[in-house]
């Protein structure tokens, strides 16, 4: 039966995606970048929308929420998965509202005025059936996918405004976004880049090799030298894994050091992060914030007997508080960290913050 086949194929894909998430390689350099994860998640959600059985928006949202919970449980530190799920939920709400005819303003979020005047008008249970809802939702998801594909280019286009000639730029580890950003600026400007290698995974080495191929003057320094070199630096440009709801970052380990050094020297810290990395999480969730990988990088297995007497930990992420950040550059332009809450309210519906 074709229906049953499709369903099993769908569940196969979901299972395969889940196991990929769980096994997402070892070390901070996950084998797939966040952009790919975001794209995969979105296409999977599109597939679910197309192939699962649902008759109204409420059902669809339930299904997507359920699958979303499973996927985020698979790898809690990979927040792009959850972010995409929330975007899709917001899309569904919008399409539903549009089909019903009510304007988008009606179910816009909390403003004090709204709370006082509207009362409890958010009663729509999303149970009404609309024939074109499916097509609209799928079209909107396609738009989202297009947006995802264009994020890196959108960010790189802003490079020339921020990087000037003969500047010294510092970065840490390897971020594809920052790489594209710098390469774009290098087409027209001449500048110098210092890359902190970011132990223990030493992704900075790859970044430096890649940048030097484009004829950018690059220097690699160990993490311990960050403070010493900072006085010579004009700007610090970094990428991140997640942008948290308070404007802070969850970035690769060593970034907090870099941010503190930059603050001390009053060097601007610029974060290049596409919008899909923005997550409604706050940094106080102790258990899901971190990812600890095999301590092999810190204390090699071959060390022998000492291993049974010593505990070695290898965390992957760092928290950077929002006070240390100067500017966020995303695909919709540059923003201050204090504005993040507003951007978030445009992307996600408050009821979706908790999947």
């Amino acid at each position: 039966m074709p229906g049953a086949d499709k369903e099993t194929e769908l569940s196969e894909r979901i299972e395969a995606f889940l196991s990929e998430l769980k096994r997402c390689g070892s070390g901070a350099g996950s084998l797939r970048g966040s952009a790919e994860t975001a794209r995969e998640t979105t296409s999977l959600l599109r597939r679910i929308t197309a192939q699962a059985r649902w008759s109204n928006a409420g059902d669809l949202m339930e299904i997507i929420r359920k699958e979303g919970r499973r996927m985020t449980a698979g790898q809690p530190s990979e927040t792009t998965v959850g972010n995409m799920v929330r975007r899709v939920l917001k899309i569904i709400r919008e399409e539903y509202a549009r089909s019903r005819g009510s304007t988008e303003e009606a179910d816009q979020q909390e403003s004090l005025h709204k709370l006082l005047t509207s009362g409890g008008s958010s009663e729509d249970n999303f149970r009404q059936h609309f024939t074109h809802l499916k097509a609209n939702v799928i079209e909107a998801i396609n738009e989202l996918l297009t947006e995802l594909e264009g994020t890196t280019d959108n960010i790189s286009m802003q490079a020339l405004e921020h990087i000037h000639s003969n500047e010294v730029i510092m970065t840490i580890g390897r971020s594809r976004t920052v790489e594209a950003f710098l390469k774009d600026a290098a087409r027209k400007r001449k500048f110098h880049v210092i890359v902190a290698e970011c132990a223990p995974f030493c992704q900075g080495h790859e970044m430096a090799t890649s940048l030097s191929k484009e004829d950018i003057e690059t220097t690699v320094i160990p993490d311990a030298a960050i403070f010493a070199v900072m006085s010579r630096v004009n700007k610090v440009i970094i990428g991140t894994q997640t942008v948290l709801a308070n404007g802070g970052l969850r970035a690769v380990n060593g970034t907090h050091t870099l941010a503190l050094a930059a603050k001390h020297h009053s060097t601007p810290l610029i974060v290049c992060a596409p919008m899909f990395k923005l997550s409604p999480q706050f940094p106080n969730e102790e258990d899901t914030f971190h990812k600890f990988v095999s301590p092999h990088e810190v204390l090699p297995f071959t060390e022998g007997e000492i291993l049974s007497k010593v505990n070695a930990h290898c965390p992957v992420f760092d928290y950077v508080p929002p006070e240390l950040i100067t500017l966020f550059i995303s695909n919709i332009g540059g923003n201050a960290p204090s504005y993040i809450y507003r951007l978030m309210s445009e992307l996600y519906h408050p009821e979706d913050h908790e999947l």
């Binding site: 769980k22 258990d287 899901t288 600890f292 095999s294 301590p295 071959t302 022998g304 505990n311």
Partner: protein, 645 residues
């Protein structure tokens, strides 16, 4: 990046390249042997097969299947022998047998498997494998990505047509590392460039090593001898391996196979290569010490991404949170006031822990109830265990449904098997094993299983048959032994050769070791009767027997090694003499000479003497004057020797 969906049914490829493509795209297969063919985990594995024992609250076979699936295996054959129905049931409920699993699992059971060799012969007979396959055991825990080793293996086979038969995977780890199992210590001589194994030997407890000269003539100039390798028990085998096992019936274990291949290299031309991994982790839980080590490695995240909170086995309600200091808690855990989970702790769901407990380096299963003031250090507690107040547990394993009453202290390396109840205020010494099953005749070791296995080569560990052969065979064997000894005497054959002959007779007639010894004693003691007739006097008997005992002392010493052997030996002697009441005086002389030849020891003889005997006759025997005098002399000798020290 596409998910691992099976090949679509119709493929329109260009015809001439189709055959080559087919060969390259064969799904990777694996053979998983879910039975270890030894009894290192007795008596725990009397109730539950080893592959299903929980390691960090997940069955061991799940780790192996996860390793295989994540490395790209698409078809796995699981071979079970002992308690196969349980393994089959577990696998069918697990995520590996869901229709969405990328790895298709077939379970094959048979009661006839006795060794790895039998399994591989079956693989060959059923023609299950089409190309290179991975061979693992059901208790291997690993996160190694074998794709690189597989590439190298395939490359080698393509370059030199099918000469390389197997690639073994090792991990670099220095001697003394806790993850190195002492039983499995190996020393390998290899060719540095081609990674070919030239010499392979188990190095456990050997003080001297010998290397044959021909390995140095292998024609390459980079030659390494390595002792820093840990055997992961993962091998990439070609289909020829199964064929070779079929051709050679005496290959039972992998060790036999490797050594056989290396010895016959000139004749058959097969080679074995190796791959050393530095970054991955691979270890086999082959005994309880390894269980301890691999458990603690899992908790300390050495096997990332296989970690407790990943819940890779997809079991309902098993997801746990990972907190600081490697503390993992599943849902429903309740912790009493003042209790500390210090570091490296995993607590199963719905477990209740009392007040003021100190827990470190421990794994606790689901639905346990632990009382107040309990100290747990390196304890492995399985499901539904009740521990009362004031208990201390150090480096022990406590199986399902055990009840430990208050005040109990378990010292290092204790094992409490299923359903045991340990009473209040008892202190168990190091290495105690408590089980509901009675120790059998066959269970020679009722001590702890943490000891490494000296008798690696003994086939009695591998057979599950109770060794009671028919008395007809015993008679034949007895006659043969008599004949051997007779010939030994006539032709003045050395004792080593006699031992060899007796051993080969043992295999021919399928006699167990204990019976061999008993029959040997009997034959020797009856030798003078056979020679000179049954009516000789005691004096004649002794004068004939004693020189024989002296001559054949090395033969005895070969068979009488452990305290249990001595008891058996004495029991056998008792039997013989009970049949010949008239010659009891000779017993004393026999005991004296046997003691002086150091075949038996004082403790053994004393223990035998003090045994409360069941028949009137043996009691009478013990009251024999000569014997009493001998025992008295023995006691005095013992005291004086102790006084000297």
């Amino acid at each position: 990046i596409t998910s691992g969906s099976p090949n679509p049914p119709s493929r329109k490829q260009s015809r001439p390249r189709k055959a080559e493509k087919d060969e390259e795209e064969q799904p990777l297969q694996a053979v998983l042997v879910a039975d270890s063919f030894n009894r290192r985990f007795f008596p725990i594995s009397k109730d539950q097969p080893r592959a299903l024992l929980p390691l960090a609250n997940v069955s061991m076979i799940d780790y192996t299947l996860e390793f295989l699936t994540s490395t790209g295996v698409q078809e796995t054959f699981v071979f079970c022998c002992w308690m196969s129905s349980k393994i089959k049931e577990h696998l069918q409920k697990s995520k590996w047998c869901r229709p969405t699993s990328p790895n298709v699992v077939h379970v094959i059971t048979s009661d006839l498997y006795r060794s790895l060799g039998d399994v591989l012969r079956d693989v060959d007979a059923k023609a299950l494998v089409r190309s290179d396959f991975l061979l693992v055991y059901g208790d291997v825990v690993s996160n190694i990505d074998v794709s690189q080793a597989l590439q190298e293996h395939k490359q080698r086979r393509k370059m030199e047509k099918n000469v390389s038969v197997m690639t073994m995977i090792f991990k670099e780890s220095p001697p003394g590392h806790k993850t190195r199992c002492e039983d499995d210590d190996i020393i390998v001589a290899m060719d540095g460039k081609s990674k070919r194994i030239l010499h392979y030997q188990r190095a456990q407890a050997l003080k001297k090593l010998h290397f044959p000269m021909n390995i140095f003539h292998s024609g390459s100039d980079e030659f390494e001898i390595r002792f820093d390798l840990l055997d992961c028990h993962i091998s990439i085998c070609s289909p020829q391996v199964a064929e070779l096992f079929t051709d050679n019936f005496d290959y039972q274990t992998k060790n036999d196979f490797v050594r056989g291949l290396l010895v016959n290299e000139e004749i058959l031309g097969n080679q074995i290569h190796m791959h050393v991994t530095k970054d991955g982790y691979g270890a086999r839980v082959s005994n309880l010490l390894m269980y301890d080590t691999v458990s603690s490695d899992t908790i300390r995240r050495w096997i990332y991404p296989i970690t407790p909170e990943a819940n890779f086995a997809d079991q309902e309600g098993q997801s746990c949170t990972h907190s600081r200091h490697n503390v993992y808690r599943e849902p429903g855990v309740s912790l009493g006031h003042g209790s500390q989970m210090e570091e490296n702790v995993l607590i199963g769901r719905n477990t209740v822990i009392g007040a003021n407990c100190t827990i470190s380096n421990t794994v606790i299963g689901a639905n346990c109830v632990i009382g107040d003031n309990v100290t747990l250090d390196r304890a492995y507690i399985w499901n539904r265990v009740h521990i009362a107040n004031d208990v201390k547990v150090k480096q022990s394993v406590i199986c399902d449904n055990v009840e430990v009453k208050h005040g109990v202290v378990l010292n290092e390396q204790c094992v409490l098997a299923y359903n045991v109840v340990v009473g209040p205020d008892i202190t168990l010494q190091e290495g105690t094993v408590l089980s509901m099953h009675h120790p059998d005749e066959e269970d020679d070791e009722d001590e702890d299983e943490f000891l490494s296995d000296d008798d690696v080569g003994y086939s009695k560990d591998k057979t599950k048959q109770k060794g009671s052969c028919s008395s007809y065979l015993i008679m034949l064997f007895q006659n043969e032994v008599h004949g051997t000894l007779q010939r030994g005497l006539d032709e003045n054959i050395s004792c080593d050769n006699l031992v060899l002959e007796i051993n080969s007779l043992k295999y021919a007639y399928n006699i167990s070791l204990k019976e061999v010894m008993q029959i040997l004693i009997r034959v020797v003691l009856e030798f003078p009767f056979q020679q000179q007739g049954a009516q000789i006097s005691t004096a004649q008997y002794s004068s004939h027997l004693l020189p024989l005992l002296k001559k054949w002392a090395p033969v005895f010493k070969n068979y009488v090694k452990r305290p249990q052997d001595q008891m058996d030996c004495l029991a056998s002697m008792e039997e013989v003499f009970l049949e010949r009441e008239t010659h009891w005086a000779a017993l004393v002389k026999v005991l004296m000479s046997v003691y002086q030849l150091e075949i038996l020891e004082e403790e053994g003889i004393m223990r035998w003497f003090k045994q409360s005997s069941t028949t009137g006759k043996s009691q009478q025997l013990r009251r024999n004057q000569g014997l009493l005098k001998f025992i008295q002399w023995l006691e005095e000798a013992e005291e004086s020797s102790e006084g000297d020290e």
